[in-house]
């Protein structure tokens, strides 16, 4: 029997997991891709979504139900006691009486950590502001492993909004522990924040901060694209200029060859040319679908059922 890397633990931040633990979790995920036994029959998941989500909420819902469990929850805070001024701490203390495990998405950064301290139940972070989105990171790693056969020493270029995207923050930091070489392609206004760059320097991770995809070498193995969010720009003209400059089309990626893996956390607007869906490396829908497998594994592991 393999050791359960998540027994008695929460899933709040990728900082909490060392490389061996990440490998152990991914190893367990593979088992869930093959079958869905009713491991969580009689268990209840509370999906506490204080801000909108499509993929994360639906895939947790699907994952729990595929394992025979039930789900309760809400998908915005307007109809909850939070709108009456209830503290997050109290909301969690109340919810813990209704369920066996909690998934939380909340706009305040650090909210998932606070929730985990409020309850003895396992808590999984479904995204806390611009901070962490560990289940997305794990499904990205799972997809990378599927596509490239490994997660170690990959050459990866991140393209787009590297300032506000929690998805890229978690993934960049985690890949740095696996010997990745990174190209960070963004307009200067959306550059990776300095403290992340400091962490990369401290970890000795080779990384290149560039503004143009043309500066990325031909032998890069993965392009991780992100959406540039209009609401981050004060100047609408600047937004239009940047948005169009970072649109990736078949012509831009031809030099990287057919082995290139193309990823995007979705939703996408116009940063990915529709024709790229036909590229053999396009993995965005795999990522979304792998979310169910990975979340099944996390739920079952956290509840000690796997």
């Amino acid at each position: 029997m393999k050791k359960n890397p998540l027994l008695g633990r929460d899933v709040i931040s990728m900082r909490d997991f060392g490389p061996e633990e990440v490998r152990a979790i991914l190893d367990r995920c593979r088992g869930f891709a093959k079958s869905s036994k009713p491991l969580l029959q009689g268990k209840v998941l509370a999906n506490l979504f204080f801000e909108p989500s499509t993929r994360t909420r639906l895939s947790f819902d699907s994952a729990m139900k595929r394992l025979g469990g039930a789900t309760i929850g809400f998908s915005d805070s307007v109809s909850t006691s939070i709108s009456k001024g209830e503290s997050l701490w109290d909301t969690i203390r109340v919810a813990e009486g209704y369920c066996d495990i909690i998934v939380i998405r909340h706009p305040a950064e650090g909210s998932a950590r606070l929730a985990a301290e409020a309850t003895g139940l396992p808590v999984i972070n479904g995204g806390d502001g611009s901070n962490q989105h560990p289940t997305q990171t794990l499904l990205d790693l799972y997809t990378l492993q599927q596509r490239t056969g490994r997660i170690e020493e990959l050459k990866v270029a991140f393209v787009g909004d590297l300032k506000y995207g929690r998805t890229v923050h978690s993934l960049i930091r985690t890949l740095s522990h696996f010997g990745a070489k990174l190209w960070l392609v963004s307009p200067s206004a959306l550059r990776l924040p300095d403290d992340f760059l400091d962490d990369l320097r401290e970890a000795g991770t080779e990384h290149h901060v560039v503004e143009d995809l043309a500066a990325v070498p031909d032998d890069v193995e993965v392009l991780y694209l992100t959406r540039i969010q209009k609401e981050r720009f004060v100047d609408a003209i600047e937004y239009e200029r940047v948005r169009n400059a970072y649109q990736v089309a078949p012509d831009n990626v031809a030099r990287f060859g057919q082995k290139l893996t193309l990823m995007h956390p979705l939703p996408r607007v116009n940063e990915v040319h529709p024709a790229l869906d036909r590229h053999p490396g396009a993995a965005w829908f795999d990522q979304a679908h792998n979310g169910v497998v990975v979340r099944q594994a996390l739920l079952a592991l956290c509840l000690g059922a796997a």
Partner: protein, 173 residues
């Protein structure tokens, strides 16, 4: 733990080693000796008032402040003498967040009975404000907590939002 030393009279001016650290010409500007209490020497320049705030020194307490004095070690420094209050080691360690090089002398009847060089705590709770406007600790019902991840130079990380703070960004509550 403080180091045991032979009793030594507190001199007018700085703490026990501070007197030697101050140029003679400047010594006349120093504040007088303390009967009993705590002398904090080698505070960074212009930090004495912040140290008082961190320590919660009462508004009616007797304190002597030397600000922006010449120092051979630091260039400039502050000195703070608090009459009638012996700081605990935990309190002294809090001041280290503001001024890691600060030194402390506890005085009783003009005699230095204890010298202490503080160490930065591994974790700080409730003292510092997170600079991240989106952090959950912006809710006044949540007490902030930081991990000390670097000591020279000082670097803190918010326990909740994970934002790193450099020394220049540290803002005390």
């Amino acid at each position: 733990m403080g180091r045991g030393i032979a009793p030594k009279r507190e001199r007018a001016g700085a703490g026990d080693d501070g007197a030697a650290d101050v140029k003679p010409a400047n010594a006349k500007m120093q504040v007088s000796a303390l009967r009993s209490g705590t002398v904090i020497d080698h505070l960074g320049p212009s930090t004495a008032f912040k140290a008082m705030k961190i320590l919660g020194v009462a508004a009616d307490a007797t304190v002597l402040i030397g600000a922006n004095l010449d120092s051979s070690k630091l260039g400039k420094k502050d000195i703070l003498k608090i009459e009638g209050r012996e700081l605990t080691e935990a309190e002294m360690n809090k001041v280290a967040l503001l001024s890691p090089q600060a030194t402390f002398s506890v005085i009783r009847d003009f005699v230095v009975v204890k010298k202490f060089r503080p160490t930065l705590p591994d974790q700080v709770e409730g003292l510092i404000r997170c600079v991240n406007p989106a952090c959950v600790t912006q809710d006044p019902r949540v007490t902030g907590r930081f991990h000390v991840v670097g000591k020279e130079p000082l670097k803190l990380r918010c326990h909740f939002c994970e934002r790193s703070l450099k020394e220049s960004e540290v803002e005390f509550l």
